[in-house]
Amino acid sequence: MPDKPRLTREQIAQRAAQELTDGAYVNLGWGIPNLISDYLPKGITVYFHSENGILGMGPRSKPGEEDYDQVDAMKVPVTLIPGASFFHQADAHLMTRGGHLDVAVLGGFQVSEKGDLANWKIPGSKGSGGIGGAMDIAAGAKKLIVCMEHTTKEGGPKIVKQCTYPLTGIECADTIVTDLAVIDVEPGGLVLRELAPGWTAEEVQGLTDAKLHVLANVPEMRLV
């Protein structure tokens, strides 16, 4: 494996944030996706959705100003932006499942070349596991972005021909943002859209189990 710098988790979030547009309704999952709200492009307003029934979440509450009846899905007290609303959990997931969210961003253990996502359970892990809202979100978002490291801690590929981990959803991911690349899931397979600074398409393919379709002159990710 080439020993070169990769994007940090914050930089993955920063790149994924560029996929969000003004006025979008967006749900962010656990892990790297949760960092995205710190890197919104300047001048745009995004309405963050939480599956416990909030639309229009702002930044985390300042110390001393927390209200524990106003928390995000990670139990963190949050502020609201003007125009926010509350609703019950069924309506919150009607929004996720019914195609009302413009973008959802989830973490991932594996993504397949067809866009199958595995992100809720590691095979052989102890305990019950937990699904939470991920399956509803994966099934229903207009655009699903998966943010994750390109390889496992051991260096194995996480973008695979076929997932071996328990699935969250089938044919649901639209875009994968990793510490090495931006990849689109197209009907004909995976398309390499951007590369991390200093990395070549061949090197990234070498760390990817699924075939990457490479267009001429793949641009470098811009991290602004």
Binding site: H88, Q89, G130, I131, G132
Partner: protein, 225 residues
């Protein structure tokens, strides 16, 4: 007028029998009927089938029920990182668990509330959730049949109630509570405040009184973590 208000938490749960199927509201530390759960644990009602988003936060929320071995089966979406009492009993085989995608958990309860017999969804197709369920293709999409989740009781948390049982909720403490209130045969609401009938403007009622059968006022309890 039928009297729905009871004076004590113990009286509020006195007639819940062993083996009951009970829904418990709450999500993310907000909107849990913690006083009612404590009362049920004091009473020692056992062999419960619990329907809840999660499985407790250490001793808090449903944690005490798992700690005391009172729950036999749980239907939930996300047991949670601090559900240690649940995980201990699950590992020993003393509790069984059905994991349900969170929105599907909501809709299966709403299906029960609405008197419907099921629905088809794409959520969970091709995953462990689909095991044993009817799968078919509707309008070209693979989907599975999900059936209603019924319960004899719902224990919920609201902010205000009037004597009729009209309820309001505070901020995001609403979460599962209105859904469970509609789905269960008998709903018991723990509230911060009981107000005169007519003082909640009809436009502001979130759970209409028809869904609420018993009300008890209690100071809110919250568990950190």
């Amino acid at each position: 007028m039928k009297e729905k208000i009871v004076d004590t938490l113990d009286a509020a749960v006195a007639d819940i029998p062993d083996g009951a199927r009970i829904m418990f509201g709450g999500f993310g530390g907000a909107g849990f009927p913690n006083n009612l759960i404590q009362a049920l644990a004091r009473k020692g009602t056992k062999d419960i089938t619990a329907i809840s988003n999660n499985c407790g936060t250490r001793d808090g929320e449903l944690g005490i029920m798992f700690k005391n071995g009172l729950i036999r089966h749980v239907i939930c979406s996300f047991p949670g990182p601090h559900a240690n009492h649940f995980q201990d009993r699950f590992a020993k085989g003393e509790v069984t668990c059905e994991l349900v995608p969170q929105g599907i958990l909501c809709e299966r309860m709403r299906t029960a509330a609405a008197g419907l017999l099921g629905f088809y969804t794409t959520v969970g197709v091709g995953t462990e959730v689909a095991n044993g369920k009817e799968e078919r293709v509707v309008d070209g999409k693979r989907c599975i049949l999900e059936k209603p989740i019924h319960a004899q009781f719902a224990l919920i948390k609201a902010q205000k109630a009037d004597a009729l049982g009209n309820l309001t909720y505070r901020l995001a403490a609403r979460n599962f509570n209105p859904i469970m209130a509609m789905a269960a045969e008998f709903t018991i609401a723990e509230v911060d405040e009981i107000v005169p009938v007519g003082s909640i403007h009809p436009e502001n009622v979130i759970t209409p009184a028809i869904f609420v059968h018993r009300i008890v006022q209690a100071k809110g309890l919250r568990y950190a973590g």
